[in-house]
Subunit: 404 residues, 2 copies
């Protein structure tokens, strides 16, 4: 039985280069043995980190002939000015040299503390070491080496049939604080052996991100380093997909979205201090955008999130957060139902008023580690789902002394 | 020496009507012996509480002949449907009856738990009791009776000369969770004896709110009940102010703004679990609106606020929050200086890069209970200041079990 994470033609590795103070692995490398098409989505933060600036230029310059990505944890290389940009470039060059790859064929990513220059001597020594460890089943090591406050490595794989061929996907992701707009430093790499024209790969990634990573984060509200990268090396043997109207393209988008959703949800589940994974579903809005705005308003409210932590089915805070989302609502049409994963449901609000539910029944659902909140607005057919978590003491502890 | 909070013609009182479970005062009444002009600013939440709906109609119907306001704590009368609206009206009617006042001459405000009907029998008994306690120096009792999670009553008074007359102001305010967009249930009443045309009073209040309460909260992001009410009974003896271009109008706006700022800052200082009061000043933006947007983004970032709590001068998080505010920036022009109330300053960032400051010097400022963050963008002349606080363990504790 083959290793579950293998994607034909790809190797991965992790290494301890000494960038993290705690002596844990901090350097990951993913490399294809043949050239890849690349697609990427980057942070919209106006202070983008040096690796983001480097990768944007690389994607514009060489989207069809890249070989992989080097990722370090422990230092974000953000707010580091001209030296930081030079260091990002050097990271890529040293990787290309270590692997005998062509110029401008490797992406770079960084995560960790902002405002500190990379320890380049450690990278110069570490990059040949991590390159020497590359192997087809090295994905666990790579996922482990990109962690910061993550409590566990996050990687998933699956395979689908497209155009009569088996197409493989393996994705890794590193977590993101509390997984909220302004807190996420989220890095993800998804490798696949699909054969696909590069513009379609980019379009497919945007579609997949909109139903996955953008459901745990609000557009535009991202950290200095957030990056999602897809590498496609074409070894699956399918006829290159070049038509967005084709069944093959649709099948690929579905498969890419599926793994992106699993990865994004894993980030929420492993958020800092998280004890609850909560799905917020809003329907009956005037538009999907309205529904998404309201769902995000609920999902990011500190008052709602502390109520999750406290097992308190405080529907007033949920409706209040819906009410200040800035979207037109009719209070007298709003319903609110909570549901656990075993199918137990309690309707808390009907037509804007509390029902005669029993508080203990509602609390029983809020005590579950995972549950869903359904808000129905009765105005139209707009619908959206986002995933969020609670706000706990542990979150305050982790972030009160992150740098010490 | 007169009582410092007396405003000629106004009486105030507090009473324990039994609405709060903890047996603390929960009913406040403010009444003028002569008719008042009224002005008010209400929440923009799409689920406005019943008293907000009632007060909006009263303000539209009778802005020049009101006598005061009745306020209860312990129950917000929000999400209470048709019965809630009828109860808000009854509160007002019982108050008018108790004082022999004309119909539709009293405002009502409520704060507390959402989604529960008011205990009307307690109000019916309590309203005549609180009315019997009205007296010119009853402001402390009124400020005490409107508290929810506030730790202390908040009231301020001052007097200014306008048109050769002494004009008095007394304001009370109740706190607002963590004083952030989505958390504030903020009620404030300011009484004054100025003589002023009602449309100007409304205009003056909007101007004052923009530099005070709106600096601790983002427009549109307000709770179900937020209300700021000004009552002006005209007993100061000045010639009625009817010209927005007059020195008297300008003097009144200044005086009203000054007390509103003091009240708003007091709300932040008494926020739930607050250990730090932080002023965020942004200058050099392309516009005042841009500066305000960036200042709010910094002031509401949970990562920034937990760093305040942890005494961690984590400037990377501050710039990151500026960067995702959605406003155009030039990272290479951004400066960041922190300053304590004794004038000690440390420049952390110059032209987008960290300076060679000593971490212990920065931490010494962040350890103060009050300090200021100055972000300079180098793009224009836009400037804004907002006030915020830290995010502490105590906040999570208070809000994890607010209803239990």
């Amino acid at each position: 039985m083959p290793h579950p994470h293998i994607v034909p033609g790809f190797d991965a590795a992790g290494f301890t280069a000494g960038i993290k103070k705690n002596g844990k692995p901090d350097l990951a490398l993913i490399a294809s043995r043949v050239p890849c098409k690349a697609a990427a989505v980057f942070t919209k933060n106006k202070f983008p980190a040096a690796p983001v600036i480097y990768d944007r230029q690389l994607l514009a310059h060489n989207p069809e002939g890249v070989y992989g990505v080097l990722i370090n944890a422990g230092c974000a290389n953000a707010c580091t000015g001209v030296p930081g940009k030079a260091n990002a470039r050097l990271m890529a060059e040293w990787t290309e040299r270590a692997l005998g790859a062509s110029d401008q064929s490797f992406f770079v990513m960084s995560t960790g503390v902002i405002g500190v220059q990379l320890p380049m001597e450690k990278l110069e020594k570490g990059i040949p070491e991590v390159a020497a460890k590359l192997r087809p089943d090295g994905w666990d090591d790579a996922a482990n080496a990109i962690m910061t406050t993550d409590t566990r490595p996050k990687l998933f794989s699956h395979q689908v049939e497209i155009d009569g061929q088996t197409v493989s996907f393996t994705g890794i992701v590193k977590g993101a604080g509390m997984i909220h707009p302004n807190m996420a430093t989220m890095l993800s790499v998804i490798a696949t052996d699909i054969s696909m024209a590069q513009p379609l790969l980019q379009q497919a990634l945007k579609t997949a991100v909109d139903v996955s990573y953008n459901r745990i984060s609000i557009d535009g509200d991202t950290s200095t380093n957030d990056t999602v990268l897809v590498l496609a090396n074409g070894l699956a043997g399918n006829v290159e997909i070049s038509d967005v109207g084709s069944p093959s393209y649709a099948a690929f988008v579905d498969a890419l979205s599926a793994i992106a959703i699993v990865l994004a949800q894993a980030v929420v589940r492993d958020g800092e201090g998280v004890t609850k994974f909560v799905t917020v579903n809003v329907s009956g809005a005037l538009s999907n955008d309205d529904a998404h705005t309201i769902a995000n308003s609920i999902a990011t409210s500190p008052l709602v999130k502390t109520a999750f932590f406290g097992n308190d089915a405080n529907w007033g805070r949920i409706l209040c957060a819906a009410g200040y989302a800035g979207v037109d609502l009719d209070p007298d049409r709003a319903d609110l139902v909570i549901r656990d994963n075993d199918g137990g449901t309690v309707q808390l609000v009907k037509a804007g008023l509390p029902t005669d539910y029993q508080e203990k029944d509602a609390a029983a659902i809020f005590k579950q580690p995972e549950f869903t909140i359904h808000v129905t607005l009765g105005l139209g057919t707009g619908e959206a789902t986002v995933w969020t978590c609670d706000l706990s003491h542990e979150y305050v502890t982790i972030n009160g002394d992150y740098r010490t």
